[in-house]
Amino acid sequence: MSARTIQGQKNLQDITTGSPHGIGGSPLRPDGTLKVKGEFAYSSDMWHEDMLWGMALRSPHPRANILSVDISEALKTPGVYAVLTHEDIPGSKYYGLEIQDQPALAIDKVRYHGEAIALVAADHPETARRAVKKIKVEYEVLTPITTEEQALNPEVHGYVHEPHEYKSHGSGNICHSQKLVYGKGVTDEVKALADVVVKGEYEVGMQDQAFLGPESGLAVPAEDGGIDLYVATQWLHVDRQQMAPVLGLPEEKVRLTLAGVGGAFGGREDLSMQIHASLLAQRTGKPVKIVYARDESFFGHVHRHPAKMSYEHGATRDGKLVYSDVRLVLDGGAYASASPAVVGNAASLGNGPYNIPNVRMEAIALYTNNPSCGAMRGFGAVQACFGYETQMDRLAAELGMDPVELRQLNAMSEGDYLPTGQQIDSPAPVAELLRRVKDMPLPPPLDLTNLDIRELPGALSNTSHGEGIVRGIGYSVGIKNVGFSEGFDDYSTARVRLEVIGGEPVAMVHTAMAEVGQGGVTVHAQIARTELGVEQVTIHPANTEVGSAGSTSASRQTYMTGGAVKLAAEAVKYALIEKGRKRYGWAQNDLNLVGGKVVSESAGVLVPMVDLLGDEAIDLTREHHHRPTEAFDKETGQGFGHVQYTFCANRAVVDVDVELGLVKVVELTAAQDVGKALNPLSVVGQIQGGCTQALGLAVMEEIIVKDGKVRNASFTDYLIPTILDVPPIPVDVLELPDPNAPYGLRGVGEAPTVSATPSIVAAIRQATGIALNRIPVRPEHLTGTL
């Protein structure tokens, strides 16, 4: 790429910042200045001389056979350079994260509303839009498979993927399933031990990641026949791994550079426009940019699995859990995406952070003709948390116990076992987190004599002056794993270079980590400062020139790529000290790099690093592997399946306008153990942001799908929380180190998204007395006008 042709490219070059802050401090983001100046180049900002605009034709039907596709009129449109169908794909026609079951362009049939069928490249987005409309597709429309009942009865309703084309491990319309039996399972003998039994059926709607930066990128054809792609993603190397076979190219000819990412939350784990833009660039020989509009974004990425869950808990009269019997049915939609791993999480984490001596669990993901579902923040642990936490509240009510005390009585702690048989071998302060949120001061009660109606439910709509408002309080706690599980070797790579620039030692950190907003680049610089005793750190653009950093997901990047930066920086430090030993004959074993100098704890300052380095650069690359895990047994769910666990507890205070069914969350408190806060400001920001997405799921966010069709693909109709909907979020951060993790840290991003939703629903339940077994809770659920 020549720098002159892409505008606003400053974050595609090195960014150097100076700060005294190593880990534990909160230095400013290295990319912050570019972002507030509008100079940070997001993937949708990529621009190239002579570039074309790509656009996809998408299916209006959730299930149909394609009888014919006529592209002739579209091709004749002035300004159109190419129109492609699956017949034009040079390599493999399928891709997928875990199972390659998704065609890059539909082949003879469509399996969900919005599936891409054909591509257009044109000189203007409007030309492309018009050409897309001129593609004539003849469909034989079929009745979509949209429910569990239909999916599990293929003899009557048919298959989403025909048995002969089936690529998943399951069968019929089951994409993946995982059973689990712990203790004695659930038998008559076990059930007889319970004095009290609580049963419930729960439902979770389909949530969208709704990142603000739409799927987008620029594919530039290279002279060597390869493709240079500038893109917003969560994992550059797995994109490349999926792209190369489809493009008919060796991986080394598919070079990816991370452009600015406008949020991700799991929605960028799967490919969106990567293959499409590259195919068009290959065909036309010109750079091709694709930017989804918001409606296309709703069709262009997977969502959080909607769930139907059945929970039964038995307990003794004094509140000790005896058994749980659980079935979780997740709707995976048309293609597998991350469904198998989501199922694994749901099965292994779906009993919550509780000691339950006997467990029977089954989790399945279905293939249907609904939108595909896969990764979203909380990944398989979110849906179940709503189920088991609602059960805990109901059980407490049944027993006449305080709901927090019941949870604390059954809370797991270090040394206890999960229902997978895995022992928790680092701190698990579940009861303590609950105590902390309970002990925080409550917000003042509603004062009807001194009201600002903008703070009431309904807010700016002026719907209440205080009448009909009832306050409620609810609690919840949740568990999430960190890192990839079930035997996956989830490594990260980092390259660190130390050299003298302008008379000062400067560290450069180069990884392929996708910075999606979480602040990984800030933390990388802090780690380099801590390990190398420098102030100036350069963050190299993330690309595929260095080894994989794994995905920015599963709360894993600070642990995994942060760990790799630590290893590489330590290697550079040892190499520099070794150089000094050779030159100066140092014998001390207490050498370190501090404040730009080599320092001996006993002998003091030995030499400035600049003198020791001279003109030489030390440039080393290291991989960081977490401790190995193992697959869960298919029938019993037993196994050392997860790397690390993370816990968050919440208290929600809500005001409900019981006449209009409007909810205002007044305060949402969080307490979370983060092991070690490498950057306290970012840690709190992650927890607050995570709580907010949980708030969205509790009271507003749902993709409405009717007969397989998405009905609300816009920000007008799919609501995410605004600043009026989100209350103050006080955060209490615990730091109990995990001895297995770099610096003792614990992944942060997802636990609050798992745990916060049920606390809000519990608070609404307390205010209204309504059961509320489905989320999101909508006004009609509260007013009975459904």
Binding site: G8, S26, L28, R29, D31, G32, T33, K35, V36, K37, G38, E39, F40, A41, Y42, S44, D45, W47, H124, E126, Q209, A210, F211, L212, G213, P214, G260, V261, G262, G263, F265, V291, A293, R294, D452, R454, E455, L460, G517, Q518, G519, L681, V684, G685, Q688, G689, G690, C691, T692, Q693, S714, F715, T716, I720, T722, I723, L724, V726, P728, I729
Partner: protein
């Protein structure tokens, strides 16, 4: 068509503009000002907020032809010379920027709020920013940033008077 207007104090000219293009498209794709963002392009998210003759608008909802001979100020025009402007600096300092895609719109909207109301209450801030979606932060650090910018602005006014 040709559209000429003032962007951040400088005259700009865009040729071959299709009549259906928005001001946002012209800024981003034709005149080299991609700072204003394209998150929804239907006036719901506020990411594309710019000043048009001094009033904050969603530039995705303004047709390119409507800006003929008018003045536009974007996030790129909020700097104080080479330095960050007061609102920009407060957003960086308070940790209000994560992915940053909503930030340009929030900066313009906050700048407008503090211009008309230098010491807004928390409820005033929430009302003023209710048209700007953020998906990362949970808004807490954005509240902090606006409070910080307000305090610094009042201090600055106090010092200069």
């Amino acid at each position: 068509m040709r559209v000429t207007f003032t962007a951040n104090g400088k005259p700009v000219e865009a040729d071959d503009v299709w009549e259906g293009e928005s001001l946002l498209y012209v800024l981003r794709e034709r005149v080299g000002l991609p700072g204003s963002k394209n998150a929804c392009e239907q006036g719901e998210c506020g990411s594309c907020t710019v000043y048009l003759d001094g009033t904050p608008v969603c530039s995705c909802l303004v047709a390119a032809g409507q800006v003929q001979d008018r003045e536009v100020r974007t996030v790129e025009g909020l700097t104080d010379g080479e330095e960050l402007g007061l609102v920009q600096q407060a957003f960086v300092d308070a940790g209000a920027v994560q992915c940053g895609f909503c930030t340009p719109g929030l900066l313009v909207q906050t700048d407008a709020l503090l211009d008309r109301s230098p010491q807004p209450s928390d409820t005033d801030i929430r009302e003023a920013l209710s048209g700007n979606l953020c998906r990362c932060t949970g808004y807490e650090k954005i509240m902090d940033a606006v409070r910080l910018a307000s305090a610094r602005k009042c201090q600055k006014v106090g010092t200069s008077e």
